[in-house]
Amino acid sequence: MGSDSLTEAHDRERGDDTDLAIRTNELTKSFGDHVAVDHLNLAIPQVHVYGFLGPNGAGKTTAMRMLTTLLPPTEGTATVMGTPLTDREAVTRHIGYLPEDPPVYEELTGLEQLSYAAFLHDIPDEVGTGRIKDLLFRFDMTDYADRRISTYSKGMRQKIGLIQALLHEPAVVFLDEPTSGLDPRAARTVLDVIEELVDEETTVFLSTHILSVVDELADTIGVLHEGRLVAEGSPDDLKHRAETGEERTLEQAFLEVTADHQESEDTAEIQS
């Protein structure tokens, strides 16, 4: 699906934002002359896993940082659970965010870090203690909770970061490359948790360049290339070549979609 037809499709769907977990309208972010995210239109239903695919530098993290209120958009609007991004405080109540480099402090223990996150989210002691205990157990981290984070492996830090993002039971969780650098077992745990989150009525916005992850988990995949959404659909839609009716792998689909747009841009550049 081309970006123009995607915009039209979103225009048709546009309506009541309250049913949507995330809605963006022409969301754009520029840094000087460089347009990192270019008129992005998304309409993601609630209790959905949205896989946000794209090569390095495509603008995935910038889009995510705008949706988590960490970066102001240059143009366009967006809502999260029906709340506009301009209402920062209300939006942050609905979201949990795990960036690629988890925001954990090496000098604290895992338990101190999570208690700190609970404090910042205004979770009462008695509720927070129970939740932390449950999540540590679920992630197999109970035995390491009193150890300093500086002694943790990358996978353990990622787990603490994920627990921290889930602690206040957000309706939408943004995960930026959640399995990067993890060993297969740790990656499996993270993927299982993502599946469980959907069972618990959470929307997951998952940015990654690991195709197998989105193929396994995502209900819808959006492919971002040079800031633009160049394809969107279910994994099966993307794997099915409409013109010839033949099936391809997600990797082939991804490469074709991003290459098509690269070629058309090069042609336009030469013509101009």
Binding site: T68, T69, L70, R88, E89, T92, I95, G96, Y97, P99, P103, V104, Y105, E107, L108, L111, E112, S115, Y116, A117, A118, F119, L120, H121, D122, P124, D125, E126, G128, T129, I132, S150, Q164, H168
Partner: protein
């Protein structure tokens, strides 16, 4: 929009964690521990030299029969302002706080700013705290009034303890009362839960 009281409450929590982190960072490696010891060894003789001068000044003030309390009060107030301004400038210089994606998706930017500024100010005060207590102690001893220093130390310790163990309710109307600045707020007993540190 979050209330100022709530932001101050979060700010103090942030400052406490930042202080804990900076203290642990300072003593994390053997090299750093040695550096701190070397620093103390280097400046201790100077401190004793200035301590004896403060003692003599205290004696002289006592001999003249009056302490310039008004002047000292003004100077101390100015010193507090200077430390807060220096702390704020350090925060501005440092730019984005570490772990900003946690802080800014969990609390308000104002709370983060308050926390970072309090941390930075306390850190600056911490650098001069030991020499200041030494000078003030020597001066008070020289003036034959050691209880002045003891009272000040106890007051600071009591105030810190009140604020440390207050529950989130002190964020609201009872905030200033429970911190001992008027009102009838009472300190809450220390909690045994894992959250008692904030």
């Amino acid at each position: 929009m979050s209330s100022l009281g709530h932001d101050i409450y979060h700010g103090i929590g942030i400052a406490r964690i930042e202080l804990r982190r900076s203290l642990r960072k300072s003593f994390r490696t053997r090299k750093r521990k040695l550096a701190v010891l070397g620093f103390v060894a280097l400046f201790s003789p100077t401190l004793f030299f200035w301590g004896s001068i403060a003692y003599d000044a205290g004696k002289e003030a006592m001999r003249q029969g009056k302490l310039p309390i008004d002047l000292i009060g003004v100077q101390l107030s100015l010193l507090v302002v200077v430390f807060v301004v220096m702390g704020a400038l350090r925060v501005v210089q440092q730019g984005r706080p570490e772990g900003e994606s946690l802080l800014l998706t969990a609390t308000s930017p104002r709370a983060v700013l308050i926390g970072q500024t309090v941390h930075s100010t306390v850190q600056l005060v911490g650098f001069v705290l030991f020499p200041t207590v030494l000078f003030a102690g020597a001066f008070a001893l020289g003036a034959g009034q050691p209880s002045v220093l003891l009272t000040a130390v106890l007051a600071v310790a009591y105030f810190s303890r009140l604020c440390r163990y207050s529950e989130p309710s002190w964020v609201n109307s009872s905030y200033w009362g429970s911190c001992g600045v008027g009102g009838s707020g009472q300190p809450v007993a220390p909690s045994d839960s894992s959250f008692s540190w904030y």
